[in-house]
Amino acid sequence: MFNVLRQQARAPLRRAYATQGYVPPAAANNIGQSMIPRFKPRPVSPTFYTGLPSYFENVNTLESAITTSRNILQNLQLLPLPKFARDALPESTPVWKGKDELGFQVETKLTTARYRRLVGLLTQLEEFRKIADTAGCVEVAESIGDVTVLFQRENRDAVLAGGKKKPVQFDKYGRTYTIGRRKESSARVWMIPVQGKSQKPAAAAASSVPSVQAPLPPAAEVNESQNEATSPDLTPFLSPKPLAKTEEPTEVTATNIIINNVPLIKYFPHSLDRERIMRPFRLAGLVGAYNVFAIARGGGTTGQSGAVALGVAKGIVAHAPEVQPLLKKAKLLRRDPRAVERKKTGRRKARKAFTWVRR
């Protein structure tokens, strides 16, 4: 009732403009096409009258999507979430398109502020999608996901997997290929488990899991299986009892290391370099378990031996992953970042200064 009164009160203030012009019939005969008023077509979107129609169209779409999904989630009592629930949500990993790509999509050259606004809206939408997905509202999550996926990169999985280290591959003979670097040197290292005479050589289609030769006297194994809680029985190592006649002596294999087609002893005349390469084997207790072939390039003896040692350590971890914490603790898996310091202007060398003169 009050509405009607209001309209009547407003009526005399309204002016009626003629939107359609009155043309007398006689005058209509000689009118050219240009005289006939054309009606402006209604623009598709109200953003037509803005400076960046496509951009604002997208912004409006996203904002309406946010509003809709917020309402839905509120109806489903999923919003507002308590803190513990919010903390328990899984981490979201959206990979939004870059500024240029997104700008191409919205047909506008995006400034940083506008890009950030878009990404902000998308992040909010992704948040709602995550909540719906975690709550189990599949349809809601999917519908929101249909919107957000338009704004994500196509190589999303590749980008997410980019930062992680690739696992070391084994070839058909059970060899690993690792690379080590130190100073200016780099070494490519191939490692293969040593096969004793008792073992048959690996077939061409063998599995990629190699066997580790760990020489242990038979008595130690029996003891260890019985007393797992107590420390391992070391008496077989300290004073080995003579083997029974039926027992075969344990076959001991040696680690052969060849670098640039030259045996280790010839390639590194200094014992320090040889010991550096042997150190990962000694710490892991796997001396004699693997043969090493390495190609080292660049740098000098220390650099090349350090590079080979790193490659060897990585190879050992690939073959025997249980050793990884031990080698990590010993800093053998760390690429030594130390390199020659550059010469600076005003100094003779990196640190050495010119002779100081009083005047």
Partner: protein, 455 residues
């Protein structure tokens, strides 16, 4: 008077108590002479001293424990073997006898060289082995696969002429060629061969021994070296040489000649009495030995490649370098090594020495033995025809680059028993040093075990 004094003294003073007791002790109690009370401890840590700060850290003398005087332990208390340096352990090893050298008995075992043969004492050994045998309590060597191969070859050679049995031991530096040669010489001595072992053949060409031109033979004689060879040869092979007789008369200047049919020891003694005759005696001796068939003869030469050098260190009066085949002793060895002169029964065995820079294995010898030559040597590189001639017909016997694990373990055991290791003798040390050495014998022992101080 005393009572007055006791009243005037402070109550707790020593003198007061002493006087009360009736005894007077001369202990001063006043001022600077008073006994010091408990020491005052200064404030510790950083203390302001004017503008600067001084760090004070003093030990509280009250808290200091009285450290008793150290006294040396008696000999009975010093039970650990670390204190018993004078006690020398001797290795207990099987003896390197020909009858003990079967594959099951001897392979990968360290055997000591018998002292009865006198070979090492009289002929000597190469320099690096000399150092080793000074450190070890016994002269010993590990019996390897290659040793048994070489000994089998020598057994086969004992019946045939040395022309067919001229063998050269080859292999990389430190793989064990000299040791195999020494084992071969010891084996032959044990088997009743006549052995001439020259451990340092390079001394004949490095101008370390006297030389004199002889116009009759038109070569340079080396009297001192020849005399040494005769001396040592006689000492080692006396019994066998007494059985053998000369076949030709040996003329001696201004003395009675050595008649045909006299023992070879007489011939040698002539050379020993007059050093200038030694080269010709040596030459005649070798001729006599090559004719006889009673005993096989072994000519064992270490550092063999020195004989084939293009120029020796000797100079002629024109200061041109003298060739090895123009010196008496190298010429003699070259002739037997090349087969120009042969023993009716016996062998010539040489061992190369690869680690030397002064006498590298020459191109002609490498080609004769089928060894790789490190420098480019196409058809336009000159090969000296005489040296090519002297290196014809030499057989190669390659010594393996690596010790087997068992052989290395035996060596490790020997050095450990002789208390030569500075590190804990566990399997980690053994395996790591063996792998670092890539199985090379010298590198394993000298650069690995004896050069390490690991925990």
């Amino acid at each position: 008077m005393l009572s007055l004094a006791s009243r005037s003294l402070p109550a707790g003073s020593a003198l007061a108590s002493a006087s009360r007791n009736g005894t007077v002790q001369s202990v001063q109690v006043r001022g600077y002479a008073a006994p010091k009370g408990p020491a005052k401890i200064q404030k510790q840590g950083f203390v302001n001293k004017g503008k600067k700060k001084k760090f004070i850290q003093t030990v509280d003398p009250n808290k200091m424990k009285r450290i008793p005087a150290f006294k040396p332990l008696t000999a009975n208390q010093l039970k650990s073997e670390i204190f018993h340096e004078d006690v020398k352990t001797e290795l207990q090893l099987p003896v390197f006898r020909p009858d003990a050298l079967t594959e099951s008995n001897a392979l990968a075992k360290v055997m000591e060289f018998p002292t009865q043969s006198n070979l090492i004492n009289r002929f000597g050994v190469p320099k690096n082995l000399n150092i080793e045998y000074r450190i070890l309590s016994k002269s010993c060597a590990v019996v390897r696969d290659i040793t048994l191969t070489a000994l089998d070859k020598l057994d086969a050679a004992s019946a045939s002429s040395s022309k067919d049995n001229r063998v050269v031991l080859t292999g990389s530096s430190g793989c064990g060629k000299s040791v195999v040669l020494l084992q071969a010489a010891e084996y032959c001595a044990g088997r009743g061969w006549i052995v001439m072992y020259v451990p340092r053949v390079h001394h004949t060409v490095d101008s370390s021994t006297a030389y004199i031109y002889d116009s009759r033979t038109r070569t340079y004689l080396q009297p001192r070296f020849s005399w040494q060879v005769l001396r040592r040869f006689l000492d080692v092979n006396t019994t066998l040489l007494q059985d053998l007789k000369t076949t030709k008369e040996f003329p001696v200047e201004r003395k009675a000649p050595v008649q045909a049919g006299s023992p070879l020891t007489d011939l040698i003694n002539v050379g020993l009495q007059d050093g200038s005759l030694a080269p010709s005696v040596l030459s005649s001796l070798m001729t006599e030995l090559s004719r006889q068939k009673t005993y096989p003869v072994l000519l064992a030469l270490d550092n063999f490649q020195a004989l084939y050098t293009r120029t020796t260190r000797y100079r002629d009066p024109k200061f041109e370098a003298i060739k090895p085949y123009h010196l008496s002793v190298p010429r003699l060895f070259l002739e037997y090594a090349s087969g120009k002169k042969t023993f009716a029964r016996g062998a010539v065995v040489g061992a190369l020495s690869e680690g030397r820079a002064d006498f590298v294995t020459p191109l002609e010898l490498c080609e004769a033995l089928g060894l790789p030559f490190p420098r480019p040597a196409g058809p336009y590189v000159r090969r000296v025809p005489e040296i090519v001639d002297y290196s014809q017909g030499l057989q190669k016997l390659a010594v393996p680059e690596k010790l087997s694990i068992d052989e290395a373990a035996s060596l490790f055991d020997v050095w450990n028993t002789d208390k030569a290791l500075h590190s804990l003798p566990d399997d980690d040390l053994f395996m790591s040093k063996y792998s670092e050495a890539s199985g090379n014998a010298r590198a394993f022992v000298w650069k690995g075990l004896l050069a390490t101080l690991t925990s």
